[in-house]
């Protein structure tokens, strides 16, 4: 079976990917440049028996998708900078209570209202540490319309399997860009479901990890009555402040991610023989990076390229692989230097690093990156 070719905007591809993954609930609040995700799903969700709701704000939207997910519906919300900030408290609630859900942040300039229509990649660190307290974080950053589709599917899959929220970080450029994409036929991409209990209700404990670190999750209303709280809780789901229970539970939340790196981490490494320079980039800046690398090659400068698709958990090994080979790593990103710090942390001095940074509302151009390549070559 062949897929269906469509000419889609990034935001539409995201919405279509969500439907493909089995998303049946969306709650959101309009904000540029993410609104098309909501508009698309407002049209399409009822046609598949799902539900769309525009809430009174982003806090409410985040709350509503967690509620819907507890009933067993795969749930999505989409937003941008200011709205992403508002979602943070309930995002942490989803982390602690282990409720699967997907949050799309089509990044725009900030802080504050910033540049509503300008592209940006300045929420990288917020995606990692935005909500208070230690918590696991997963963030995916596609760089094309097709990849927005597939990464949205993957975001749902990971979220379901690991019972944790997944953030999809796109930006104004790829969110609004139109490209021809193929929607794969049903069944071509694997779709994962959350683990559900196999024991009868009277034996069910909502945070029972005897079968593995991802506890099975029962749907509200399905006969398994249990308690969900944002307080630290024991395996029965009820609050506890017993230090010997709290610490291992907090560590388990992190371990869900660190023990499943293979499942989550995705990147592309394009190697050039004898390259002494490398670029690490993601999202729309990766597109400019790719063009710059071609231009440099025409000038005889070889540049390795690490394109991150998973930003969190950060693919440390890939960065180290690059640092072991090259002398200089360039990190183009539409912010004033966020990902570069993670690169530096990962490579621990094995190579020099330099950024290409832009926050004026215009994209980083290939020539800008090429200039930096020439400087360090």
């Amino acid at each position: 079976m062949s897929g269906k070719d469509v000419f889609y905007q990034g935001n539409e591809a995201c919405a279509e990917g969500a439907l493909y993954a089995g998303c049946r609930f969306f709650a959101g609040y309009p904000i540029t440049p993410s609104t098309e995700v909501a508009e698309f799903l407002a049209r399409r969700l009822p046609t598949v028996g799902g539900a769309f709701i525009q809430m009174e704000d982003e806090i409410a939207a985040m709350a509503a998708i967690i509620g819907a997910s507890l009933v067993g519906k795969k749930s999505l919300t989409s937003t941008s900078g200011p709205g992403f900030s508002l979602k943070m408290e309930n995002l942490g609630f989803a982390c602690l209570t282990e409720v699967p859900c997907v949050i799309v942040n089509v990044m725009r300039g900030g802080p504050s209202t910033g540049l509503p229509t300008g592209p940006s990649q300045s929420d990288v660190m917020q995606a990692r540490w935005g909500t208070h307290g230690d918590h696991p974080a997963i963030a995916l950053a596609p760089d094309s319309v097709q990849e927005i589709f597939t990464e949205t599917v993957r975001a749902f899959n990971i979220s379901e399997r690991l019972r944790t929220p997944v953030i999809l970080l796109t930006d104004e450029i790829i969110g609004h860009m139109r490209e021809r994409i193929t929607i794969p036929p049903e069944g071509e991409l694997e779709i994962w479901e959350r683990p559900r209990p196999t024991v009868p209700p009277d034996q069910y404990k909502p945070y029972d990890i005897s079968e593995g670190i991802i506890p099975p999750m029962a749907d509200f209303g399905s006969g398994y009555r249990y308690h969900v709280t944002g307080l630290n809780h024991d395996e029965t789901g009820f609050p506890t402040n017993n230090p010997s229970l709290v610490q291992p539970e907090e560590e388990r939340l992190m371990a869900k991610v660190t023990e499943n790196l293979d499942l989550i981490q995705k990147y592309e490494y394009f190697e050039k023989p004898k390259a002494r320079i490398g670029i690490v980039s993601f999202g729309s800046s990766a597109r400019s990076s790719r063009a710059a690398i071609r231009m440099a090659e025409e000038e005889g400068i070889k540049v390795d390229f690490l394109r991150l698709i998973t930003l969190w958990p950060f693919p440390t090994d890939a960065a180290v692989q690059m640092a072991d080979k090259v002398d200089m790593i360039i990190v183009p990103e539409m912010n004033l230097g966020q990902m570069i710090e993670e690169v530096q942390r990962s490579i621990a001095g094995k190579a020099e690093t330099v950024g290409v940074n832009r926050v004026d509302g215009d994209p980083i151009t290939p020539t800008q990156i090429l200039d930096r390549i020439r400087e360090v070559a």
């Binding site: 799902g50 509503a64 967690i66 009933v71």
Partner: protein, 272 residues
Amino acid sequence: MAFNYAEYIRPGKLPHIWCPGCAHGTVMKSIIRAIDRVGLEKDRTVIVSGIGCASRMPGYVDFNTLHTTHGRSLPFSTGVKLADPGLNVIAVAGDGDALAIGGNHFIHTCRRNIDITLIVFNNNIYGMTGGQFSPTTPHGKLASTTPYGNPDYAFDVVELAMGAGASYVSRSTAYHAIPLERQIADGINHKGFSVIDALCTCPTTYGRRNKLGSAVDMIGWFKDNTVGIKAAGKLPPEKVEGKILTGVFRKEEKPEYCDEYAKIIEKTGGRS
């Protein structure tokens, strides 16, 4: 015959955390009896709360229970209800939870008329955090953050709910625990958003600071300072003046949100 609360209380969870004489327990019991009266199926009932003393209530009762973030019980409830309209959804909240941090959700849930029953445990104060003033603390009263008297004016939960479009609105008190139970049952049976303003007490942080006497004095105050709206119409004005009105203020048939959304699903050819 004694009511069998044990059927609804999770084993081993009592005694609850509330202070001696805190009326939250009385309101919880009215809710339990109301659920029993309506005959809701436990497996198909979800009780949702925010944060605060009142919001600890769901932990004690044997339903699907969800203790969320401060002020957010209604949007969480909305997600649950719209995702499975066959579920019975009851939200509980303190006055601060429902009307300060959750005030925006409150008015919009009223406007949306989604079939959720909200019980506001209205004790005029932020109990859990030690007695700061809330949106229902009367003007002039003392709280830890209004040491010279509250310069703010209080919300009237009933008027606010009516103004925002809730289709069932009532008020009762912890003294009037049986009428309260009846209203909650009525609210659950009502198709649409129901708001029950349950006046209760926080002897520990509000009563003491404002010299309102013991828990008993505070409960007794409700007896002497409330008038049913039906009776109020027949009484001379001087007997009603200064009193808090109780009873059912609105019960209106009005299209419900999930029903309306089901029509959209049908119109677009969708199936669940």
